[in-house]
C-alpha cells in the first residue's frame, strides 16, 4: 500500500515544472493582457483606465483593424480551401503503392520542417520584381515581368500560396494516417461488387475520412488565423495594408504606435475568434461521438 501511495504523486512531480512555466508565461500574461486592454497606455504617462473604449475604437473608428480582419478572412478562405483540396490529393497519391513512396512522403513534408522566416525570404527572393528567378524565367520566354509582391491582389495570392506550400505537407500526413486506418477489406468488397474508383472514393473513403478531414479543417483554420511570421517576412503586410493580418496589426499597434492597451484589446478579439473555433471543434466532436 505505501508504495502505491508513493507512486501516485510522481506524475504530479513531473507535471509541476511544465505547469509552472505554463502559469508564468501563458496564464499570467493572458490575465494581464485582459487587464491592459482596459487602459490607454503611453511611455510618458501612467496608464489611464478607459473601460471598453479600446474595443469601441477598434470596431467603430480603426480602418486598419477592419482592413486586417477582412484580409484575414480572405486569407483563411483561400488558405484553408487550398490546403483541404491539396492535402487530400497528396494524401491519396501517397497512399498508392508507387515506387519511392517513402521519398515522396519526405519531400512533401520537408517544407514543414523549414523555419517560416527562411521560407518567406527564399520566396521573397524568388518573386523579386527586378532579379527574382520567376521573372527571369518569364523574360526568357519574352513574357513581361510582373510586380508579384508590389501589387495588392498578387501579393495576397502569393501570401496564400507560400503559406500553403509551407504547411500542406503536415496536413497531408494527417490525412494519410486517416486513409491508412480505413480497412482495405471495404475496398476489396467494393471491387467485387463492381464499384468504380470514383464510387469507392465517394462512398467509402470520404465518409470514413470525414472525421480526419474535419480535424484538418479546424487545425488549418486555427493556424491561418494565427499567421504572422510568413507574411511579415514575405511582404511585411504590404504593399500598403494589402496583406496585413490581425497579428501584425497587434504588433504594429503595440510596438510601432506604443498603444499597448489597444493592441491588448485586438489580441482579445483574436482570442475570442480562435477560442470559438476550438469550442466548435470540441462540440462537434462530442456530437459525433454521441451519434
Amino acid at each position: 500500500m505505501p508504495s502505491r501511495r508513493r507512486a501516485s504523486y510522481i506524475p504530479y512531480l513531473f507535471l509541476a515544472p511544465n505547469l509552472l512555466v505554463f502559469v508564468l508565461f501563458i496564464i499570467i500574461p493572458a490575465i494581464y493582457n485582459f487587464y491592459l486592454s482596459l487602459f490607454k497606455t503611453s511611455f510618458d504617462k501612467p496608464p489611464e483606465f478607459v473601460g471598453l473604449d479600446n474595443f469601441i475604437y477598434l470596431f467603430q473608428r480603426d480602418d486598419f483593424f477592419w482592413r486586417a480582419l477582412s484580409n484575414l478572412i480572405v486569407f483563411v478562405i483561400g488558405d484553408v480551401g487550398l490546403i483541404l483540396i491539396l492535402s487530400l490529393g497528396i494524401a491519396l497519391l501517397l497512399n498508392e503503392d508507387i515506387r519511392w513512396r517513402g521519398f515522396f512522403r519526405s519531400v512533401f513534408f520537408y517544407p514543414v520542417l523549414l523555419s517560416p522566416v527562411v521560407v518567406a525570404l527564399i520566396w521573397r527572393w524568388f518573386l523579386n520584381t527586378q532579379y527574382g528567378l520567376l521573372n527571369n524565367l518569364l523574360r526568357a520566354f519574352e513574357i513581361p515581368p510582373q510586380p508579384w509582391l508590389l501589387r495588392p491582389d498578387l501579393a495576397m495570392l502569393w501570401v496564400i500560396l507560400v503559406h500553403v506550400w509551407a504547411t500542406v505537407g503536415f496536413f497531408a500526413l494527417i490525412l494519410l494516417a486517416g486513409l491508412q486506418a480505413i480497412p482495405p477489406v471495404l475496398y476489396e468488397a467494393a471491387v467485387v461488387d463492381g464499384a468504380t474508383r470514383w464510387r469507392s472514393f465517394w462512398h467509402i473513403t470520404l465518409p470514413l475520412l470525414a472525421p480526419t478531414i474535419f480535424v484538418v479543417l479546424i487545425l488549418s483554420m486555427i493556424r491561418a488565423f494565427e499567421v504572422f511570421d510568413h507574411i511579415y517576412a514575405l511582404t511585411g503586410g504590404g504593399p500598403g495594408t494589402a496583406t496585413m493580418m490581425i497579428v501584425q496589426y497587434i504588433y504594429r499597434t503595440g510596438f510601432e504606435m506604443n498603444q499597448f492597451g489597444l493592441a491588448a484589446a485586438a489580441s482579445l478579439v483574436l482570442f475570442v475568434i480562435i477560442f470559438s473555433l476550438t469550442l466548435l471543434q470540441y462540440w462537434l466532436g462530442r456530437l459525433r461521438e454521441a451519434v
Binding site: R5, R6, S8, Y9, Y12, L13, A16, L19, L20, V23, L24, I27, I28, P29, Y32, Y35, L36, T41, F43, D44, Y57, R61, D63, F64, T129, Q130, P147, L149, L150, P152, Y232, T235, G236, G237, G238, P239, G240, T241, A242, M244, Q248, R252, G254, F255, E256, M257, N258, Q259, F260
Partner: protein, 458 residues
Amino acid sequence: MKRLILFAMLALVLVAACAPAPTPAPTAAPPTAAPKPTEAPKPTEAPKPTEAPKPTAVPPTATPLKVETLRFVWFTDGPDQAAIEKLIKEFNAANPDIKVELAIVPFAELNTLLTTQAEAGKAPDLARVTEPPRFTKWLLDIKPYLKNKNFDKEFIPEAQVLVTGEKGEMYGYPHDFTLNAPFINMTLVKKAGLELPKGDKIAWKDWVDLAVKVKKATNVPYAFAVDRSGHRLDGFIQAMGGGFFTPDGKDVRINSPENLKAIGQFVAWHKDGTMPLEVWAGGGSGYADARQLFVNQQLVFYLSGNWQMAFFNQTIGDKFEWKAVPNACEVQCGGMPGGKFLVAFKTTPEKAEKQARLLEFLGSRKAMEQYAAESLFLPTRNDIIKEGMKWPMRNEDMNTFLKGIAVLPKSTYVDNYHPRFGPVANEVRDRVTQAITGELTVEKALENAQAKAKDLIK
C-alpha cells in the same frame, strides 16, 4: 503524503500567480531616426589625440587616491564605438580618481534596460540615449557641478531644450547630430553630360528633374528614392513648408495644404516610375532604406542622411563618384535633425561632480571634434557648426551636412523632438504608403493620418 504534495503544488501556483506583472514590452520607434549600424571606416589619418595632462604628484604622506567607477551605458551605430573608447581611455588617464566603464548594449534593448534599472534604483551613471524625456525623473542636474556654468549654451539650442528642466536644470546635452540630406551619383550625371543645379534655393523638383534626365540618358532603373521612414518624409515636405506638428507642438497639421501638395508630388513620382515601388510599397511595414539601390548604381539621387557616409565610403569607395548635396530650399530649407544625447543619472552625491567632469570633457570642443572626425558623425557645438571643422575623409561632404544644420528651420526641431513624433511619423508613413499603392487617395490618406495623430497626442 498525497495531500502534502498537492498543497505544495497549490502553494507554488499561488506564488506564481502573485508574481509582479511583466513590464510592457519595449517600444521600437524612437522619435529621432536612429542611424543604421554601419561598418567601421577604413583606417585613415586620424586627428592628433589630445595629450593627457600629467597627473599631479601625490605626496607620499597623502591618503591613497579613491577611484570612483562610473558606469556609462552606450549603444553603437558602428564607427562611434572606437571613437568613444579612445576618448574614455584619454579621460581615465587624465583623471586618475575616476574609472569610466563603458557598457555597450543593443539599441533595441536600450530604453527597456535603462527604465528597468532606473526603477530599481540601479541606473548607470551616464548613458547615451535618443529619447531623454523618458528618463527625466531619474536624471541629474549637472549644472551645479560644472566648471563652465554656461556649458548648456554651447550646444544647438533647439536640441538642448530636450535635456533642460523646467527650472533650467541641465540633464545632459546633444552629443552627435544626424541630418537628413541627399546623395547624388556624379558619375551618372557626368555620363549624361549634365551639371548640378546652382544657387541657394533649389527645389526638390529641380533635383528630381535632373535625376530623371540622367536616368533616361544612362538607362538606370530609378531617378530618385527616399528611405521608407516618416522621419525622412518629414524632412522632404519641410522644404515646401510642410510638417507634422503645429509650431507650438500642441496640435498636428498632417492634412495641411502644404502637406497635401508635397505628399501629392511624392506619391505621383512613385506612380510614374521616377521613384521605386520596392522601397515604400515593397518595403514591408517598418523602416526600409534604398541604399543598396544607390550602391548598385541603380539610382541617381537618394535622400537619406549623414549616417550613410561610413557605409558608402566602405562599400562604394572609388567605384563611382558620389557626393552629398544640400537639401532642397523652397519655402524653407528641408532636412530633419536627429542624433543622440548624453545624460547623467542621479546616483550618489559623491559621484555627481565626477559625472559632470566626464560630460564636460566629452562635450569640449577638442573631444567633440575628435569624436566627429573619427566616427563621421556631426558635432552639436555651436562654435564648430559656425566655423566648420576638418574631417580626415569626405571632408567636403561632411561640411555640406554641417552647413545644412545651420539652415534647418525651427519646425524641424519641433517635429523631431516632439514626444509623440515616433508613432505619428509611423502613422503618416503607413498612410502615404496606402496612397502610393492606390488603397486611398492622398487626401483620404492624410485625413485618416490627421485623425489618428490627434488621438496619439492626447
